[in-house]
């Protein structure tokens, strides 16, 4: 006979088993869902780019850095001083001279008479050398000697802040605290923490355009195809005999199951200036052109069609299933109650599709918001950025563009906005759907 065990014992056993079973899922969630979001947020607060790299950097005076120092920090004089080339007779130079084959007498004389002196130009140094007793014979020897004392910190990398400031001090430049800070900001080659990505995002006119593009893309595709056309398809096929209806639905599934690259390629063939459309339209007197990229309106029409044909199938399937679940007696009843087809659609079908429509709208708005693959393949956001949506902008900024400087930080900031919008929308939708009511018994009883 089985003896009843105390509840606690059973519970703890099953609890451990439960945790064990959950562990892989937990690892995956953390690794693949949470970590990317957290990393995106982290990157968004940096100025990482191809130029800075993603590891630490060094300190280096560069042309552009000095321009920035002058323009943004108002330190024109300091920038000039740092960028200037000077000639200093120092230990390093004297040792180099002896190695290069200068006479011992010359070396000792350099050490004795010129060591520690600094000259603003090469001519001044050469003039000073010429005055020496053991001066080199000939212009060439003089030139090669003077070159050894050329000193500049431009384009020299310093691994640490200390070395860098030592070198600056070696140039005879004295810095106050603000100058030090400005100098650090303009010479550091690695990434730094910054909130600038966001202020930049909100100030760029490009952002506004991308935002509007995203709205157009999501809503046009959603309303015209993913719900609208899907509804039309499901209702039309409902009134068709089973076989043709099945074939019809299968046809509309094709875009969804064909490989995106091939699918978009077909659209490109259709639209190219030597493509299908042109072949048909040129004999009718239209000029041959790339119909997809000819102007923004055309590009949008194609983008919405390309995405819509793919997106309509899901709504069609969901709506068809929902219509199928309406008891056939309701259609009979409405028929004998005098309702024609249109009235059946309006008073019987559509009311029963309220939840599926809401569901598709919510689900597809989220998936459209983050999907850009078809746009990338079709127009790459063109012509002239007219079809660049937010997700595509983030991708191009951070991961792939012609300019070659990939701005990971700014791209991550763009992506983070998408993540936030997505999370907020998801929470709102979950509330709207009221999870409890979904678990409740279905509204149609049969």
């Amino acid at each position: 006979m089985l003896r009843a065990r105390p509840d606690g014992e059973v519970m703890s056993g099953s609890r451990i088993l439960g945790l064990l079973l959950l562990a892989p899922a937990f690892v995956f969630v953390v690794l693949f869902f949470l970590a990317p979001v957290v990393l995106t947020a982290v990157f968004a607060l940096t100025n990482m780019s191809t130029a800075t790299g993603i590891t630490g950097g060094a300190y280096q005076v560069t042309q552009s850095g000095m321009r920035e120092l002058a323009e943004r920090h108002g330190e024109q004089a300091l920038a000039d001083a740092l960028a200037r080339v000077r000639y200093t007779v120092d230990r390093t130079g004297i040792d180099a001279a002896s190695v290069e084959g200068a006479s011992t007498a010359l070396v000792s004389e350099l050490d004795r008479r010129l060591a520690g002196q600094s000259f603003d130009s090469r001519r001044e140094l050469e003039r000073a050398i010429k005055k020496l007793d053991n001066r080199p014979r000939g212009t060439r020897a003089l030139k090669s000697l003077s070159a050894l004392f050329e000193r500049s910190i431009v384009n020299t990398r310093f691994a640490t802040e200390e070395e860098f400031f030592d070198a600056v001090a070696g140039l005879g430049i004295e810095l106050d605290a603000t100058q030090r800070a400005a100098l650090l900001a303009t010479t550091y080659t690695g990434w730094t923490w910054t909130g600038e990505n966001f202020s930049r995002m909100f100030s760029l006119p490009d952002t506004r355009r991308t935002f509007l593009n995203t709205i157009i893309y999501v809503f046009a595709t959603l309303i015209v195809f993913n719900t609208g056309f899907a509804l039309v398809l499901s209702i039309v096929t409902h009134y068709m005999p089973d076989r043709p209806a099945g074939i019809f639905r299968a046809i509309w599934l094709l875009p969804r199951i064909s490989p995106p690259v091939l699918y978009v390629l077909l659209w490109k063939w259709l639209a190219w200036d030597t493509g299908f459309l042109s072949r048909i339209l040129v004999p009718l007197g239209f000029e041959s052109r790339n119909w997809m990229l000819d102007n923004p309106t055309n590009a949008w029409v194609f983008i919405v069609l390309i995405n819509g044909f793919v997106g309509a199938s899901m709504g069609m399937l969901i709506f068809s299933a929902a219509i199928r679940s309406i008891p056939v007696s309701l259609f009979y009843a409405s028929e004998v109650d005098g309702a024609n087809r249109w009235q059946q659609v309006r008073y019987v079908i559509l009311p029963q599709l309220r939840w599926p429509i809401l569901f598709i709208t919510c689900y597809q708005s989220l998936s459209l918001l983050t999907s850009f693959e078809y746009i990338l393949l079709a127009t790459e956001g063109g012509p002239g950025g007219a079809t660049k949506v937010w997700a595509l902008a983030a991708y191009l900024t951070a991961l792939n563009n012609y300019a070659g400087n990939l701005e990971y930080g700014y791209g991550a900031a763009l992506a983070l906005v998408l993540v936030l919008v997505g999370v907020i929308l998801s929470l709102a939708y979950l509330r709207l759907f009221d999870f409890k009511s979904l678990v409740a018994p279905p509204p149609i009883e049969q």
Partner: protein
């Protein structure tokens, strides 16, 4: 309104379900289409309301041929087995739906809905939705919706099948009351002979796509044209015993039962089938038969017995609950031969 089915034929693809059926339903009459599953009774109903197109013959409402008129324009009221109420509409909106489709004014709709709701006793439920109603209440709403626009004919498709026993009893008399009060012509489709007998003026009993017999309920019970009809009507059902009759003497093949009948077809041996209703077999019967009780079902006021003859054939008996016979007991009950039904070997009444 008088409804006439004239040589009505219905096929689905190659399968002919109903072949050249004639049926006349008188004005104000309530008729039952009674039969087992698949006999074509629902098909007939759907053809009358226009959901199914007819494949041949005519359907007439009054003098008007409606065979090719779509159901939207036929002016029929239908109560479906599942009630088919619109789940997203309130009771009032459900009842008013046919009027709304006809674009009648709101005031007019409200007046008619109130009137009909009063008739079917659901005046207090008008604001609810179907999911908030009991089965009986939903049934009344469906009835109200079918009646609200004064249809030419009221069609009821197994209206009581989804109700529990007590409600079924209640709605049986309710539907009949409402039909009588409105004087509407009605067709009841059912497989339950009790419903058909208790609610209708006449019964058309169907089998395999044909009408076997049309008659008033008691007439059909007493004088069934065939063993099929006899077997379909009556609860507990009639018991059949096959055997031969010679000079008025009936005997089964095994000789387990021998009775003399008030039927004489001469000296020639003839195969016949006896139909013995339970109320005509019991301790008081004239001609005794030996058997053993194999089953007792107490129904309160009455008790039902199955009695097995020696060769295993079963006779049924229904008696007042005063009898105390038990299972296994050997009995020698008698058959009231005057009320026996006789059929020939093809099941046709003699």
């Amino acid at each position: 309104m008088r409804i006439l089915l004239d040589q009505f034929t219905k096929s689905f693809g190659r399968l002919t379900v109903i072949n050249k059926m004639d049926l006349e339903i008188n004005d104000g009459e309530m008729i039952a289409l009674l039969g087992p599953s698949g006999c074509g009774k629902s098909t007939t109903l759907f053809a009358i309301c226009g959901i199914h197109r007819v494949s041949g013959g005519r359907i007439l409402f009054g003098g008007k041929d409606v065979s090719n008129i779509p159901s939207q324009q036929r002016n029929v009221g239908v109560v479906f087995q599942s009630y088919a109420l619109y789940p997203h509409l309130t009771v009032a909106e459900n009842i008013g739906f046919p009027l709304m489709i006809r674009k009648e004014s709101k005031a007019e709709i409200a007046r008619k809905v109130d009137e009909i709701a009063e008739l079917v006793h659901i005046g207090n439920l008008l604001e609810r939705r179907p999911a908030q109603l009991s089965g009986g209440q939903q049934q009344r709403v469906a009835l109200a919706r079918a009646l609200v626009r004064k249809p030419d004919v009221l069609l009821l498709d197994e209206p009581l099948a989804n109700l529990d026993a007590k409600l079924r009893l209640e709605m049986r008399s309710e539907i009949r009351r409402i039909q009588l009060e409105t004087g509407i012509t009605a067709v009841l489709v059912t497989h339950d002979q009790v419903e058909a007998m208790s609610m209708c003026d006449r019964i058309a009993i169907m089998n395999e796509g044909r009408i076997v017999q049309i008659a008033e309920p008691m007439e059909m019970y007493k004088n069934p044209v065939s063993d099929f009809v006899a077997g379909f009507l009556g609860n507990p059902p009639i018991a059949f015993v096959d055997g031969v009759v010679t000079d008025g003497q009936f005997v089964t093949a095994s000789g387990a039962m021998a009775v003399s009948l008030p039927f004489n077809d001469g000296a020639r041996e003839r195969k016949i089938r006896l139909g013995i209703r339970p109320e005509f077999f019991g301790p008081g019967g004239a001609q005794p038969v030996a058997g053993k009780i194999t089953f007792v079902e107490a129904q309160g006021r009455e008790t039902l017995y199955d009695v097995a003859l020696e060769d295993g054939q079963i006779l049924r008996s229904i008696q007042t609950a005063t009898n105390t016979a038990t299972v296994g007991e050997k009995v020698n009950w008698g058959i009231d031969v005057e009320n026996i039904l006789l059929f020939d070997e093809d099941g046709v009444r003699l």
